[in-house]
């Protein structure tokens, strides 16, 4: 792509990633969550990769495949960690540990340090969705480079 597109993509890439992370980490307080924040982060990766039209080392498919598998394992692991009561039992909620603060009943602004395992699951799903879309985009870019141009 042209120099203008590359400059604007470089300029906007960190802001898109930070906005996606904001949606993910506030998933248990505000509208949004893992899927939506992961899609926003993946659009940032796609913008960067398409503007460069190369497979960047930091955005390679191998790393994203590993992240995808590990985040699915992390999601299933947090579900299985509550097996002392039941599958998907929220064992961290109201426990006083990380993300374990008690919330007040009714409509309130909310505290970030609540939610139990829900923030961890949001992060896992976000990593999976972001790496999935990044894999698709980098596959298509590779095919377009090797099959269409040559």
């Amino acid at each position: 792509m042209s120099k203008i597109v590359r400059t604007i993509a470089d300029l906007f890439f960190p802001f898109v990633i930070v906005f996606g992370l904001y949606i993910v980490f506030h998933g248990h307080l505000t509208p949004g969550g893992g899927f939506q924040g992961g899609a926003v982060m993946a659009s940032g990766f796609a913008m960067y990769a398409i503007s460069r039209r190369i497979e960047h080392k930091a955005l390679s498919k191998n790393i994203f495949s590993i992240i995808e598998s590990l985040s699915l394992l992390m999601f299933a692991g947090f579900a299985a960690a509550g097996l002392m009561r039941s599958f998907f039992y929220n064992f961290l909620a109201n426990s006083g540990l990380l993300f374990g603060e008690t919330v007040l009943f009714g409509s309130n602004a909310g505290v970030l340090n609540t939610g139990g395992v829900i923030p961890f699951m949001n992060i896992a799903v976000a990593m999976e969705v972001a790496s999935a879309f990044a894999i698709v985009v980098s596959c298509f870019i590779l095919i377009s480079i090797y099959k269409v141009d040559k």
Binding site: L29, E68, A79, F88, N90, V103, G115, M121, C139
Partner: protein
């Protein structure tokens, strides 16, 4: 437009219009026990202010696990097909 195409279109339009006209008011479903339970207990049981998130990742977490697995399977298919396409052309696919 011929009549035999016009008549089914009119029937479908009448059905959609009548069902939209006779729809229930927003926020008053016929069976509201589950909604009431979620709204009363979600904050206390899961510690999340966002009740949609609480349902998605806690009460109905198995559904989200299935969705994540579907996404994983789809990406595996994309990787396999792209690798096959690139190998047909004798491309060096170290990175696939």
């Amino acid at each position: 437009m011929k009549l035999r195409y016009f008549l089914p279109c009119l029937l479908i339009f009448a059905f959609l219009f009548l069902s939209a006209h006779n729809i229930r008011d927003f926020g008053s479903p016929t069976h509201s026990e589950m909604d009431t339970y979620f709204l009363r207990n979600a904050q206390e049981q899961t510690g999340a202010n966002n009740v949609v998130s609480a349902v998605l990742f806690d009460y109905r977490g198995l559904d989200t696990l299935g969705e994540a697995t579907v996404l994983f399977t789809a990406i595996s298919g994309v990787l396999i097909i792209s690798k096959t396409i690139l190998e047909d052309d004798n491309v060096d696919v170290k990175n696939c």
